[in-house]
Each structure stands twice: as C-alpha cells, then as structure tokens.
Amino acid sequence: MTLLRLTAAALIASAAFAGAAHARDQIKIVGSSTVFPYMQAAAEEYANKSGKPAPVVESTGTGGGFKVFCGGIGPDFPDISNASRAIKDSEIKLCADNGVVDITEAKIGFDGLTIAMDQAAGDMDLTKEQLYKALAAELPDGKGGFVANASKNWSDIDPKLPNTPITVFGPPPTSGTRDAFVELVMDAGCSKQPGMADLKKADEKKYKEVCSRMRQDGPFIEAGENDNLIVQRLEADKNAVGIFGYSFLYENSDKLKGAKIEGVEVSEESIADGSYPISRPLFFYVKNAHRDVIPGLKEFLTEATSEEALGDDGYMVERGLTPLSAELREATRKAVADAVKLSK
C-alpha cells in the first residue's frame, strides 16, 4: 500500500503547488487561426535565437482570443492576442472593464481570401455579387420582401458561368475567415441589390441579418475549421470550390488554383497592391502592462516586427503572409517599440 501513500503525498504536494501563485517565464499568445502560423514562426525563431523558453501560441479564433486576452492583467492572462480583423468596440470595452486599458495594435500584413478549386476544373471569374447570389440564404425579391435562394447551378445566376452545380466548402461561423467573407463578399454583394440601401437606412439590424445569412439547403457546406479537409474534398469533386486563406492555396498550388474575383487573379502581388478585392489586414495586440513583467516579451516583440519576419523575404511571408509596404512596416515597428496606446 506504499503506492497509495505515495500517490496521496503526490496529490497533496500538487495541490499545494497549485495554491501558490506561479510566476510565468513563457510568453502566452492566443487568437486568430489565420495569424497562428505567422506567430508560430516568430515564436520558434525567437526561441531558437535567444535560447529562452518558447512562447506558447494557441489558436482560439479571433473572438475567443480577445475574450481571454481581455480577461485581465496578470500572469494568468495572455500577453498577445492575434486577430484577423481589427478589435471591435465591444472588445475594447470588455478589456477596459477588466483593467486592460493600455494595448498596442500592430498590423503585420494582409491575407487574401481565396475561392479555390481543383487544377483540373475550368477557370472561373466571379464577382462579389455572383458569390452573394450563390450563397445567400434569402435573396430580395425586389418588392421589399425576401425569397429563399433557389439557384442550383452557377449558370442560374449568370448564363456566362458554367452549368455545374453550386458546391462551396467554407468556414463555420466561429471562424475569422467566415467573418471576413461575410464582410467582404456577402455584405458587398448584398448592398448592390435593389432596395437594400433603403433597408439599411430603415432597419440596419434586419439588413445585417439578411446579408450575412448563408444558405443551409446544401450548396454551401460548412467544412469545419480544418482547411486541409477542404483541400481533399476539392480534389475529390472537380465541380466544388472552397473558401480559405491564401496560405492554403499557396501551399497546395500543385493541386489547386484560385478563381478570379472581379477579374483579378489572386497572387501575392495583387493582394499586396490592394487590387485583389477580397483581402483583409491581420493584426496582433499587445498588453503593455505586461511588457516589464513577462521576461522576454520586449525581445519577442522586436523579433515579431523585425524586417526578417515581416519583410518582403521574411519568414512570415514565406509561410504565405502578404507583406505590408516598407512604410507601413516601419510604422508598425515604431508603434510596437514605443508602446503606442490604442485609441478609438
């Protein structure tokens, strides 16, 4: 029964440890799954260079990240939150309510949303409006009401499009990619519909609701957060298209190709110069109160905003990030180094 006694002792010991507040020597990062690979790169590079404990990077989604990040100040809360969109006012308020008032915003680059399909499939050139018409749950009937989306084939929307069934694999509502898709494509396509401008003025809540609802009758398939699964599905079904971040298309360029959006081919160049219409900026946010408390945080921030990371040949860019212009990079570096407080 010495075993029992031993385990009991271990139990008490671990409980005693847990009670004591523990200092933290690792940097903690949470947030967007889109920014995750880039922060991974910075974390690994920092750990390798300095030989210090490796930062802990967790992919929680943008919203989930802010929820933890804004939880408070102290070693139990993360130091950095990644985001595939700018912080919302409600999140700034949540932060402020918990004493997190001094944060710095750092824009690190752009990510293009790609509409991709198998290499063997025919080329496609889509507009935002066509995508909206293909994927919205309800379309305005032109008389102030709405009817369920009935289009089954791409050619139902526009005769110039191929006569193949609409099959689109996309991210679930918890994903930042979905938020971005709704904002950049669905809202944009929706606002062009007759009568929608009036609705927006009259009842903005209703406008948002009808514009952001994706159809659930089959053609749009939520494929979970796992983008590799979408890639496999696209290989299996030549008619299907998938929605994901540019890094997945880049890594799988021998299997997949991107559709043109508004006539613009997706590429690093077109995302960087802003001509590719559906791209979004990526950020991380730093808790300035942690700068002098968490060992290595300042050095890590220098690493994550260095030219070696964000530059045109930087290691984040090698992973698929679309870089900022040299001036914007310099601005980000300066903002982070000087701990410029986010004001909104």
Partner: protein
C-alpha cells in the same frame, strides 16, 4: 402408459416433415454462426482499412531526407564562451553553398538554392556544437534535414511531371537537388526527430516529444488522482455504505457520469480549474485533473465489480477469526481484487490518453517548441498534436499526422497489452 407409447410410435423421426424441420433448425444455427462471422470480418475489415490507410499515408514520415555537410569549425574563430551569439548563420550558409558548388551563383539564385535546406540549419549546428564543444577544434560532419518541399520531392510526393509553375520547387532547384544526390551526400535515415524533437513550424523538424511529455504528465496526474480516489470511493460504497436511498442516488449518478461526453468535462475544467482556481492554461496539471474527472466514474464501477467478485467466504472467514473490517479489506479482499482493478485502471488511462475534446477546451492545443518538464509547463498532448498537425497547411504535415496517429495507436496497444498481461498473469478465477 399405452397412450404414451402410442404417441412415441406415431412420431416418425424419418418422415419428411421432421426432416424439413430439422433442416431448418440446423440452417438457423448455421445462419447465426455466419452472422457472427460476418460481423467479425466487417470489424476486422474496417480496422485493416484504418491501419492500412494510416500506414500508406504515414510511413513516409518515418524517414527524413537529410544531407551531410562537412564544416570546419577550427577556422571559424568562434569564442568558446560566447557560442550562443556567434555568427552561425553565415558559417552554415557558406558550408551549404560549398556542398552543392553554389558559391558563384547570384544572390537570388543562392537563395533559391538555400531553400533546399531547413531554415533552422544554423541553430541545429549551433546546438550540436554547444552540446559537444570538442567539435570546435576540427572538421566534423553535420546532418542537415532538407526542407519540406524537397523532402516531398525525394519521397515522390511532389511529382516532377507537374508543370513548373504549379509546383513548389522549380527546375533549377531540382537540378541542384539531383546534383547533391549524385554526389552521394543525400540519404534517408530513420526519422528519430519524429519522436525526439519538439513541435516546429517546419515539418522536417517537427516531432512528438512535446506531445509525449505533455501526455505523460497528464496521465501521471490523472492516475495520481483517479486511482486512490476511485479505490477509496469503491471500497466505501461496496464495504461500508448502508443500503439506502442516498447510496442508491450516488450509485445512479456515478453510472450516469460514466456516460457523460468528455467535452462536458472539458467545459467543467475550463470553468472550475481555470476560472475559479486560476490554474494556468495549457498545463498538463489541468489536463490531468479533467481526465481524472472523466475516468473516475469508470474506475469506481470497475473497482466495485472486482471487489464484489471476491467470494464472500473470504470476507466472512477473515471477519470470523477476528479480523477487523479494515484488516479484512486491506489484507484479503483488495489484494485479490487488485489484478482486475489494475486492468481496469490501465484501460481507463488508455482511454484518457486518446481523449481530445476536453484538452482542446483547456488550451492544450497550443504551439510550442519545447517539451514539458513538469505538470505546470504548458504543453500539448498526443491527440491534440494530431489535431494541430492535421490543420497545418504544409504538405509534410499530412504524412506526419498519420505517423502521429500510428505512434498514438502504438502507445494504446502497449497499454492494452499490459492490461491483458496483468489479467492473464494474476487474475484468480473462483
């Protein structure tokens, strides 16, 4: 009497009707046997498909394409006391350029050439020299993994027939690679890094050491809590508790808890251990606590059953010659029940080892390039590592995901094997 005899005589066991009846009864038996056999073939078939597809996808990750490079450290002039800060990058870059005869290329072509090797080459060399400073005094050979696209090329995952603009490696790079192969410096040894490296963003360097250490600590915590608590609870319920409405209620609840989905325990852990107690996120301690909650009900049930299966004659004999209840339990009943309890414990722990959902909720799916040295160090676990890799864009992670699943399966088979061994060896049948 005569009526009975007459009755017996009227049954003609060789009549056609009886023959038909017998035939149909035998047929029913044969069918039953066939159904059972089909079920087993079905189950085995699925298992074969699972293991087969994992092996086909994953076996390539068990080898890694590497190139061996001679580096002369005697001429580097590095200060032995400041090895960490020395300029390893340029030293290793020079050596890599030399091995392929690429020194005279233009800067851009040099970069394309260097893309062939892992980005972390300089750090790998640095760490090996720091571990063995004797290498500073002369020429020695270092093994540098090739970067993922070239590893895939060497393994045939990236086809040379794909048009150049559609593959990650261009024709010049392939030519440079073929040149290295012709020189005989490229080899494909067993990928020990898969087991002994921590996670990395580069597939060629990524390994399971972090996940294995995290899983180890979680299971230690899980065992340290669920084993004593489970046995104590089972002994009380089985040997001491009065039979009344309260104990009935407790029993029903324990049975219900055993069927609660594991994600619920994860949510509980998130709210209680992280929220109220303020334990650190991603720590194996919290993972172990959550897994302990999950395994406890099963463990209590198994222990109670095994206590019950010890014949009451043994209990009564002990009590009859004057042993106290405590002595009867600890000297006689528990030792006899122990083999079954251990088997149950190991099988529950094996289930805990493969559990993903609760660990995702408490943040044990974070990326980190170090291993856990204790229960407070943030880490991943084997199943969550599989989850992270399956979601990574790099091609090399596809085969590594399958390889990681195979490693996890190997651990599970090992644990279940130990459980079966213990049962065969020590179980007493009454």
């Amino acid at each position: 009497m005569s009526a009975v005899q007459q009755n017996v005589q009227t049954v003609d066991w060789h009549s056609d009707a009886i023959k038909a009846r017998r035939k149909s009864r035998y047929a029913a038996e044969t069918r039953l046997k066939a159904y059972g056999l089909i079920a087993i073939v079905f189950a085995l078939g699925f298992l074969t498909i699972l293991i087969g597809s994992l092996t086909v996808k994953g076996y390539k990750a068990f080898e890694q394409t590497v190139v061996s490079v001679e580096i002369d450290l005697a001429t580097s002039g590095f200060d032995r006391d400041k090895l960490m800060d020395a300029n390893w990058k340029s030293l290793v870059k020079k050596a890599l350029l030399e091995v392929g005869g690429a020194e005279s290329l233009k800067k851009k072509e040099q970069k394309a050439y260097l893309d062939m090797f892992t980005d972390n080459a300089a750090y790998l060399v640095r760490d090996q020299v720091i571990a063995d400073p004797a290498r500073l005094s002369g020429k020695s050979s270092f093994v540098i993994p090739l970067s993922d696209p070239f590893d895939q090329l060497a393994k045939g995952e990236i086809s040379r027939d794909t048009p150049e603009d559609q593959r990650r490696v261009n024709d010049r790079q392939i030519a440079a690679f073929d040149q290295l192969v012709a020189k005989g410096v490229v080899s494909k040894p067993f990928n020990w890094g898969l087991i002994f490296n921590a996670d990395s963003r580069f597939p060629e360097l990524a390994g399971l050491a972090g996940a294995i250490s995290g899983s180890f600590w979680s299971i230690v915590v899980c065992f340290a809590i669920s084993f004593p608590v489970g046995i104590a609870a089972a002994i009380y319920l089985e040997e001491f508790a009065p039979k009344n409405r309260w104990t009935d209620l407790i029993e029903i609840n324990i049975n219900n808890l055993a069927a609660v989905p594991s994600v619920v325990f994860g949510l509980l852990g998130l709210a209680v251990f992280l929220g109220w107690f303020g334990l650190p996120r991603s720590a194996p301690l919290v993972g172990g606590l959550v897994l302990a909650l999950m395994t406890l009900p099963t463990l209590i049930i198994v222990t109670r059953v095994s206590l019950k299966s010890v014949p009451s004659s043994i209990r009564e004999a002990a009590l009859g010659i004057g042993a106290s209840k405590h002595e009867a339990i600890f000297h006689h009943i528990l030792p006899l029940a122990m083999p079954t309890v251990m088997t149950g414990t190991i099988i529950s722990l094996a289930r805990a080892l493969g559990e993903t959902a609760p660990l995702l909720l408490i943040g044990m799916n974070a990326f980190m390039t170090s291993t856990a040295h204790g229960v407070f160090d943030a880490s991943t676990a084997l199943p969550t590592q599989i989850y992270i890799w399956s979601d990574s864009p790099e091609r090399g992670f596809v085969s590594r995901t399958s390889a990681a699943i195979l490693v996890l399966l190997a651990f599970l088979v090992l644990m279940n094997g130990i459980a079966i061994f213990l049962r065969q060896r020590f179980e007493r049948r009454w």
